[in-house]
């Protein structure tokens, strides 16, 4: 029986009091315990940023990599050992600035990752520059005239790229966040969860009080069909006084990338012994050049 305590690490978080990352951290641990995945059966891959320190605070296999390159490293881990459940935990700068291309390709590849984006819509660790999800007009140290760019829409981008599981949650609702991660862990391909993560130090606009009255749960509507991609696009564009959270889109009819790789039909690669080629294999290779 796996419990949340199994994931306890001796390292204490350095996050600010009230940081939205605490809820994400707890939700990840609760979700893993709930589905019965032990620390050695998972791998938490992160990049660089406040949120990307999550694996350091969690007793589980982990890898804190480069800014923006979380998803490709996690893809390599997953393909080398699809016996491990691989989760990415990284911020909006990591996922949607340096790493946006990787996210889109992971989505179209349908690689079996649970990709959790700690989206605080600001750069925290570098102390308050605007991020790819900051609102247009956001004033920051690097956008003194207000940001000229539109924010990226990760939900719509993931849908357009062919993601088979696209969801949004937020740090103000631990139960919803946990349930969303649990649901993503049951998905066979790439699962994107964009998580509104209030930054109490550098983003006073997008606070708990900002989100609480605005968010509503898509799954509260019994008629919302998560397999309807057009409906998902429509909800992805909804923004303002009402902001949808929950699962926008989920289909299970497309195989994950790793299910299609011939070399992986026999099971995960990593546990297999590395052995010299057999004489008949050598002979077959040499025949190609004779």
């Amino acid at each position: 029986m796996v419990t949340i305590d199994d994931f306890a690490s001796p390292v204490r978080p350095t996050w600010c009091t009230g940081c939205g990352n605490f809820a994400i951290w707890n939700a990840v641990k609760r979700a893993l315990a709930q589905v019965g995945l032990a620390p050695h059966e998972v791998m938490l891959v992160s990049g660089i940023g406040c949120g990307s320190k999550l694996p350091d605070y969690t007793h589980a296999n982990g890898y804190m990599t480069l800014h923006g390159r979380t998803v490709p490293v996690a893809t390599g881990v997953r393909l080398a050992n699809h016996g491990l459940r691989v989760l990415c935990t990284h911020g909006d700068g990591d996922a949607y600035a340096e790493g946006l291309g990787h996210m889109l390709h992971a989505a179209r590849r349908n690689i079996g990752l649970v990709d959790i984006i700690q989206d605080n819509r600001i750069y925290g660790l570098t102390k308050g520059q605007y991020s790819p999800t900051s609102d247009r007009g956001r004033v920051s140290k690097t956008s003194p005239w207000g940001a000229f760019e539109l924010p990226v829409n990760p939900i719509a981008l993931a849908l357009a790229a062919g993601a088979t599981f696209v969801a949004r949650s937020w740090s103000g609702d631990l139960n919803h966040l946990t349930a969303t991660i649990v649901r993503a862990l049951g998905h066979r391909g790439y699962a994107l969860i964009d998580v509104f993560q209030p930054c109490v130090t550098f983003n006073r606009q997008n606070s708990y009080d900002f989100y609480r009255p605005r968010v509503y749960n898509l799954q509260d509507d019994p008629d919302y069909d998560v397999t309807d991609r057009m409906a998902a696009f429509a909800r992805a564009l909804e923004w303002g006084d009402r902001i949808p959270i929950g699962v926008f889109y989920q289909v299970e009819d497309r195989p994950a990338y790793e299910e299609q790789v011939p070399a992986l039909k026999a099971g995960p690669l990593a546990p297999r012994p590395v052995e010299k080629l057999r004489p008949e294999q050598v002979q077959r290779l040499l025949e190609e050049f004779l």
Binding site: P10, V11, A38, P39, H40, E41, M43, L44, V45, I48, K53, P55, D56, T58, H59, A60, N61, G62, Y63, M64, T65, L66, R69, P72, V73, A74, T75, G76, V77, R78, L79, A80, N81, G83, L84, G101, H102, H105, V261, P262, A263, L264, A266, L269, A270, P271, R272, V274, E275, K276, L277, Q281, V282, L285, L286, F289, L290
Partner: protein
Amino acid sequence: MQTVDDLIIRIGGEAGMGLESSGVGFSQALVRGGLHVFGLPDYHSRIRGGHNFFSVRIARRPLYSHTEPVHLLLALDQETVRRHIGAVVPGGAVVYDEKDGLPDIPRRTDIGYFSIPLAKLAEEAGGSAIMRNTLVFAVAAGLIGFDPTYIESVARDNFARKGPAVVDANLRVIQAGVEASRPFQADFPFRMEAVLDAPRRLLLNGNQAFAMGALAGGCRFVSGYPMTPGSPVLEWMAAHAAEYGVVTLQVEDEIAALCMAIGAGYAGVRAMAPTSGGGFSLMVEALGLAGMTEVPVVVYEAQRPGPSTGLATRTEQGDLLFVLHASQGEFPRIILAPGTVEQAFEAGWRAFNFAERYQTPVIVLSDHYLATSVRDVAPEDLNFDAVVIDRGELLTEADLDRLEGEYRRHAFTESGISPRAIPGHPKAVYASSSDEHDEYGHIYEDAENRRRMQEKRMRKLETARSEMRPPTAYGAADPDLTFIAWGSTYGPLREAVDRLNGQGVRARMLHFTDIWPVPQGVEALLAGETVAVENNYSGQFADLLRMATGHTVSRRILKWDGRPLSPEYITHHVSRFT
């Protein structure tokens, strides 16, 4: 009629005429006929048009290099005649298509001009004018007295999967080519007949040899993005992936390629990312990640001339100091630079042993010349028996079962190498970080820890140094001139050394495949007059040797026009200072 020691046939034309495929096929036939070959493709970065050529040098002794003269020029357009007529030796000949005619340039009186309706004959015999590439090689076989049945055997094998009709069409084209050569045989003096009952030999290029060595060495994950001349390694692996249990993927960019290979390496699979210099530039940050988090990974970097796009389909050794210093900060790396097909095969499996033994990135530096030239070797020269798979200090399942206390992935050790656990065992749960970290992998900024951790990582390089191979010495034992070379210059320099010794210049080559860390004891070898021979502008390896050993080479013979060094180029430059 004379049987020559060397005979060089060059076919030229536009991209899309199938010069390289037919050239390699003809080379294959020559090898089956007991002859030795060295085949050199030369092509432009385009799908159609331009001017491409393929030269095959043929001899009855093993060959290591191309050379510059041409005995028989097979011209599929006027441009070929215009560009290469000067390279044809006296007594040699040009075969050209009657429909193309000859360019309006002065006729040479010391060579033959053989007009043959190549396209017309190919169309009549095979149903397609494009088959004149095969036909013209059959003409060549007829002219040099080489038994065309060897060409037929290659055609049968190569076209078998396209069905008997295609095979038969090719056989008719070959027959037509041989017939068409008959009127000119008396006018062509050079002969190179097949050697009967010679042992079978392989024909392959450096990319293929490296890929096969990597596969033999247990490489089971290859991620890459297409870039000449490195991508054939990914293609070769993909073609063998299902049979040998290799995961191969073409990804969105090169940093993703290396990051994926690093992820696979972290998870315990022997992984590599093949590329060229431009792609390597994009991988640079990830290289440091592997160094910092002590992940085994191999990068195959087939160089081409830079900077930037440079000459996409040509050769240079311009990336040595770049790969040596690439990525911020200091971390151990190992660099190998094979010079021959045999060495490329060896580098394939050795790289993965170094990567796992030292838990650090290994770079194999190749270049367009080595990657794409084909050469024949004996099957035993690709020594599969010598392949060793040494995973270094990798903890087994049983080791981990017995583990007491918390596992320290980056434990301080005398050698710098920390016993490594593959993620997945309940007793070895850990997270490494690209941030400086403690022995467990936790982020830790303490000064004393930083000092010890950096020393631990860099110590691996000193441990590795004792394993690096000294250079191969070739030539005079008591030399007046010592040439220093690395990577693909092996072949041209070896032949230049033979020629110089034949002329009474006591010359020796020291050829390095193990570049970094610089092997122990090199200082003692670098005595007297030393000449660095490199396919780059500045002599980067000479600079590296000065940095590492204090030895300053006396002279440098360099070439940076995008074309490989030839024996003639080297001896010509030597003649200017001896």
